[in-house]
Amino acid sequence: MAATPVTTAAPAEEEAARQGEEALERLMSADAPLYLSPSPELAKDARTASRYLFSSLVPFCPKPPLDSLLADDGFDAEQIWCQIDLLSRPLLSVLRRELNRLEREPPAPVPGSGLDVGVAGEAAEKERVMEDGEGDEEDGDESEGDEEEEEEEAEEDEDEGDEEEKEDEEGEAKGNQVEDKFLKIKELEEYLEMEEEKEYGRPERKGNKHEEEDEDDDDEEDAADAEEEDDLDLGDFDGDGDEETGTAENARYEDFFGGIKKKGLNKNGIVGKRKCSSNGIDFVDGLESTDMDIEENDDKGQKILSTHEKELKKLHSKIEQMEKANLEPKSWTMQGEVTAAKRPKNSALEVDLDFEHNVRPAPVITEEVTASLEDIIKKRIIEGHFDDVQRAPILPSKSPKDHKELDENKSKKSLAEIYEEEYAQKSGLAPAPLTVSDTFKNEASLLFKKLCSKLDALSHFHFAPKPVIEDMSIQVNVPALAMEEIAPVAVSDAAMLAPEEIFQGKGDIKEEAELTKAERKRRRGNKKRKFKAEMAKTTAKKAGQNVIPGSTNEKPRS
């Protein structure tokens, strides 16, 4: 359809407006999936609709750049948007100024404005939806669409605010100026109080619910954008909440700080508050009431829980949670011995493990440490106390053998003598001969004894007798009595013997040469007699031996 020139007369304008509305309606009625693929019909409708809207907004703008939107087929999406932007920027500033003015002079609220608000809200929604579709269709680019949405949302919110402000102004104006038979201030006040009671005390308002649900849907769309601003605006919200408690006596905690469930509501309130920046009681009340309404609707019981009950509920929920946790299998950190296969991969890296180190940590070498070591070394060197390994002394396991040397000389003893000596040693008749080492030992011990006696005599005053050196000097012919004889020390051994012990014999001793013949004969006769006597004895003995006991030879016992 060709673009109708803007400068045509009013009926042409009306025709254009009608067409635009129709296009809007068509866009709205179109199925959502149709927007996904580009269709020329929808595009045409979109262009007409946008043209209509542009022309409708033109009168509000102080200096419109264009009288009508140029949105023919030849124009690009970018171009169309630029035109809209050119229009909307000064318009925004105008609207902001209006808002500020309204803030400074809030108009009186009008009771019959509730319906208008609802209608206006619906219209706004429609506009928004349409513009969303438009954005998607033309570009397929979400960013531009979002920007447009934001723009339109801002416009719409401002529109809402404007409308509500207007309503407020109307209300105020009514109360102050007009008081005729139809409207009495008192009645108005009573009515207002009733309404307030309803809002704060009694949670039964279904009309508002419907509105709020729609608003919630929108809010969920806006959630991403408005999240960041929540924290900042909570403070503002709380401040306003406190003001509210001061003013409304029946207000409760839930009204202001809401339940945990409806954060969206809070956001809605915050967003509305920021954008509108109106301190209109009704507006705020409306928001809070909506919050409260939704909370109460979502409560399981039909009454509000007390603090104690809330605590109990929390406790119960905690207990349930803990019991559930106990029944479930524990996390791997709480289990006893866990191998690598039983825990997730690389999970040990995340946990701060504590285990015993059997190795002492390496010492940190600092200057002080080295200085102390050097001091120790110096001290040791001065003392001469080193940790040298000393060779262990070899303990003699056996006594050193005396090796018999090979004697290469002719032996002085005959074989018979050698065996004789051996036999004597074995039987014990003769003592064992001293070995060479023994003689040496004896000699050494003797020397030492002599030395010791001399040293003792020199070193101390008390008398030590001369050591007794045992000699094997055999004194021949000394009877036992003589050995024990107490003789003076000076007497020699030779003198100890008595003359009889030296010589045994009788009478004169004469040599053979000195003897006379008679004496020689006498001696021989003595010898013979002795010999005969001995012979007789021996023969008698032998005769005695030959006698068998019990035989006839035996001499009878007497």
Partner: protein
């Protein structure tokens, strides 16, 4: 009391002796003398005297005679014509083996041993005389033989004496014949060392072996 008992026992014996001639007492005999064993016959031994031992025999006759006659109780005489020493048992010879011992003793003297050394034969039972020739060990001729003999003796006889002293034996090297007097084991040791000397081993080696062996032998006793 004791005397009464003794008299009573004596009386009993007399009674018994008188009463029972049928009960014969067990006869108790003395050990037989060697004279009686050979039914009163006398045993002889004759030991020939080699010419080179004639003069030494004359010289040492009394030393030989005295122990034989006095202690062993064997009659001994020298048959000058036959150049033999004759030995005869007497009636009062105490032991049968005395004659043989005396014969061995005389024979050992004839081989060349000293009387004192040979006397050990008389005193000890377990001494023997072992003889062998050099040619039994190894066939050596001429110079080798002479050298072997020299090796056996050593310088001034020191090797021979060393062996004698270490093994408690007595060795006689008579030209090519070697006689060893001693106990069985000692003879063996001496013989081994002599054989090794004959075969050619140096004296030092023999000494070392001897030392080891004698240490072992000494430990035993």
């Amino acid at each position: 009391m004791a005397s009464s008992e003794a008299t009573s026992s004596a009386m009993e014996i007399e009674k018994v002796a008188a009463a029972a001639p049928a009960a014969v007492l067990r006869p108790q005999f003395e050990a037989l003398k060697p004279h009686d064993m050979s039914d009163g016959k006398v045993q002889f031994r004759k030991v020939g005297v080699p010419p080179h031992r004639y003069a030494p025999l004359k010289r040492c006759w009394m030393e030989i005679y005295t122990p034989i006659y006095e202690q062993m109780k064997i009659d001994i005489r020298m048959n000058l014509k036959a150049r033999k020493v004759e030995l005869k048992t007497r009636a009062d010879t105490p032991d049968v083996s005395n004659l043989q011992k005396c014969a061995d003793f005389v024979h050992a003297f004839m081989l060349g041993f000293d009387v004192a050394d040979a006397l050990a034969l008389l005193r000890l039972d377990d001494l023997y005389v072992d003889s062998f020739e050099i040619k039994d060990v190894k066939t050596l001729r001429g110079e080798h033989l002479s050298r072997a003999i020299g090796r056996l003796s050593g310088k001034g006889g020191k090797t021979k004496f060393a062996i004698e002293n270490s093994t408690r034996t007595r060795i006689v090297i008579a030209d090519t014949k070697i006689h060893i007097l001693g106990s069985f084991l000692n003879i063996k040791v001496a013989r081994d060392s002599l054989c090794s000397l004959i075969l050619g081993s140096p004296a030092g080696k023999v000494y070392s072996k001897l030392r080891a062996v004698t240490a072992r032998l000494a430990e035993k006793y």
